[in-house]
């Protein structure tokens, strides 16, 4: 091997080593998993082999193929003879939509509130502080249960709102703290000296500078959002049939653990895979972008 070739080989392996460190296999797998779930959620409507409310009481508790079932119902059927694959597709779609929309809307709202608190200070800041305190004074699950007790007929929209309420406080605290810190930084003062108005500084300068922290927190918080939604629905006080979610399916399935364990375990597996993959991605993003978690 010539010297040039050796050098070439070395750079190549070093580049591979770098790529390996930049893209650990676990992270790549996690990204693929999340991408696949998102794809399923987006195309669920066309993938469903049956109608969502199609029951067949003559074919209840049919096992999935890997437990000796037939391809008629690849993931088996539930206690009403509904096709599990159809239910699972809809459940993934609903749960991911709630988690995604809830996280994004909550983050946007929270960031705006945090900026408002930082910008105006005084009593506005005080009110935001009291609201944050209040939310810290009640485990969110309990708060959500109290609201579900009075809100009629919960559906996907209700849960998106609930997840916003769950998340806003975290981003409000973060955005407020970061904005106040950034205001003290030279560049924000320098912008004021140039004649820039308050909001211009926030949107054009402070926001891009803290966006990384906010995005990392969104990804770190995403699994917790999925868990909160599925927990509430697992308890049976959320979304009503015929609509479903991963939590609803598990909650229904737990009564048939002896007879038909797949009803509870299949959605459980999907919840686990989704939250695990998102946790890995979140941790990796945090380390990669080098921002503190809290």
């Amino acid at each position: 091997m010539s010297l040039a070739q050796t050098l070439d080989f070395r750079t190549a392996t070093r580049a591979m080593g770098r790529a390996w460190r930049r893209w650990p296999p676990m992270v790549v797998v996690s990204i693929l998993v999340v991408a696949a779930l998102v794809l399923v959620a987006l195309t669920a409507r066309w993938l469903m082999p049956y109608e969502l409310d199609e029951q067949n009481l003559l074919n209840r508790y049919a096992p999935p193929v890997f437990m000796g079932g037939t391809w008629e119902h690849p993931l088996g059927t539930d206690s009403l003879g509904q096709d599990m694959l159809t239910l699972m597709l809809r459940a993934v779609q609903v749960s991911l939509s709630i988690a995604f929309l809830g996280t994004v809307i909550g983050a946007v709202a929270g960031t705006i509130v945090g900026f408002v608190a930082a910008r105006f200070g005084g009593w506005v800041d005080g009110v935001v502080g009291v609201l944050v305190d209040f939310q810290a004074a009640l485990p969110f699950l309990v708060l959500a249960l109290a609201l579900l007790a009075v809100l009629p007929d919960a559906d996907m929209g209700t849960f998106i709102v609930l997840m916003c309420i769950y998340g806003w406080e975290r981003y409000a605290r973060l955005a407020r703290g970061l904005a106040i810190a950034a205001q003290e930084q030279g560049y924000a003062v320098a912008q004021r000296a140039l004649g820039a108005g308050g909001w211009r500084i926030y949107v054009r300068h402070i926001l891009p500078n803290i966006a990384a922290v906010l995005v990392v927190n969104m990804s770190l918080n995403f699994p917790a959002t999925i868990l909160t939604e599925t927990s509430l629905n697992f308890l049976g006080v959320g979304i009503e049939p015929p609509d479903t979610s991963l939590g609803v399916l598990m909650g229904q399935g737990r009564s048939y653990l002896y007879k038909a364990p797949w009803i509870a375990l299949l959605p459980g597996l999907v919840i686990f895979v989704a939250t695990f993959a998102m946790s890995i991605i979140g941790d990796w993003l945090r380390d990669r972008l080098d921002v503190a978690g809290r």
Partner: protein
């Protein structure tokens, strides 16, 4: 009547809230004028109120009081809309160029931004204008897309200067613009500043703790001690014959070739503005202090030679040595 001074400051005060909410006066009744095209140096130790003064003049601190006039018109009591127009005419250069630049924005965009803020010119012109200014401060096109962390400290301060000048201001307030730079770079930036001043016809306020730097760029100089002016006058005049013992001490602290007479060294520390002593604030450290200095506070008094000094016994050190 003669034209009004370009800048005029009367009885400027800045009060901060100290520990436990007690007010702390960082700037305590400072007055001066700056003529068009003139550069006034402001010198003093850290904590004497230099930065508060500059920030107060452009409304960047809370708790500022006093009258600031620009071409004879008051600006300290203007509303936000009026300030926005004013900021086109008065620009500010910060001490720490890295901090003053947005860490995520390419430098060309940052120089262009003031034009966006004030909505000046068409989009393409803005870009060309920003590029031209960068060129004139010696930052070439190859650096246009660099982030602030990717260029050197001197280049960063050049970018900050370009950003300040892109609005074609009449007044430039420089707050320690070179103190964060290496000495060799300092000279370049000071040279550039002098060049730009002549090219743009700028009136400048130049703040520094470094007398050598002040002397390099200023026409007149004001010496600040504990939030007050203790001596103000022509720069060569003051450097040749300081009247206030504090000015003398500052000059003696700087290395100088061909020094004559004894060297005055300061003992003790600057008193805190929270506990301003009665009488002359400098009395406690002044080697020539007499009972009167502790009892009464000397006012800044104009003299026939165009200087103003706040000392009962000016030139006392020189006389003692003679």
């Amino acid at each position: 009547m003669a034209d009004p001074p370009r800048l005029s400051v009367r009885d400027a005060r800045v009060t901060y809230r100290g520990r436990g909410g007690r007010p702390v006066r960082a700037l305590d009744g400072v007055s001066f004028d700056v003529a068009p095209g003139e550069t006034l140096g402001i010198v003093g130790e850290s904590g004497c109120g230099k930065s508060s003064l500059a920030k107060m003049m452009v409304g960047l601190v809370r708790g500022g009081e006093g009258e600031v006039r620009f071409d004879g018109a008051r600006i300290d009591n203007q509303d936000a809309a009026a300030w926005k127009t004013l900021r086109r005419r008065i620009q500010y250069v910060f001490q720490d160029p890295l901090g003053a630049l947005d860490p995520r924005m390419p430098v060309l965009a940052q120089v262009r931004e003031p034009l966006d803020i004030h909505d000046l010119g068409a989009a393409r012109e803005r870009r060309a204008r920003a590029a031209a200014l960068l060129e004139s401060v010696g930052v070439g096109p190859h650096l246009h897309d660099s982030a602030p962390v990717e260029i050197s400290g001197g280049q960063r301060q050049r970018v900050v200067l370009a950003r300040a000048l892109v609005l074609e201001p009449e007044v430039l307030l420089c707050d320690e613009p070179v103190s964060a730079l290496d000495v060799s770079i300092q000279a370049q930036i000071l040279g550039l500043l002098a060049e730009l001043r002549d090219a743009f016809g700028l009136t400048m306020l130049f703040i520094s703790h470094d007398l050598a730097v002040i002397r390099h760029v200023s026409h007149r100089v004001a010496v600040l001690y504990l939030g007050r002016v203790v001596e103000i006058g022509d720069v060569d005049d003051i450097f040749a014959r300081p009247a206030h013992p504090y000015t003398r001490a500052l000059l003696d602290a700087a290395p100088r070739i061909g020094r004559r007479g004894p060297r005055l060294r300061l003992e003790g520390e600057t008193p805190s503005p929270e506990a301003r002593p009665t009488g002359c604030a400098f009395a406690g450290r002044c080697p020539a202090a007499r009972p009167r200095c502790v009892e009464q506070d000397p006012a800044l008094t104009a003299r026939a030679d165009g200087r103003a000094v706040a000392c009962y016994f000016p030139h006392v050190i020189d006389e003692a040595a003679a």
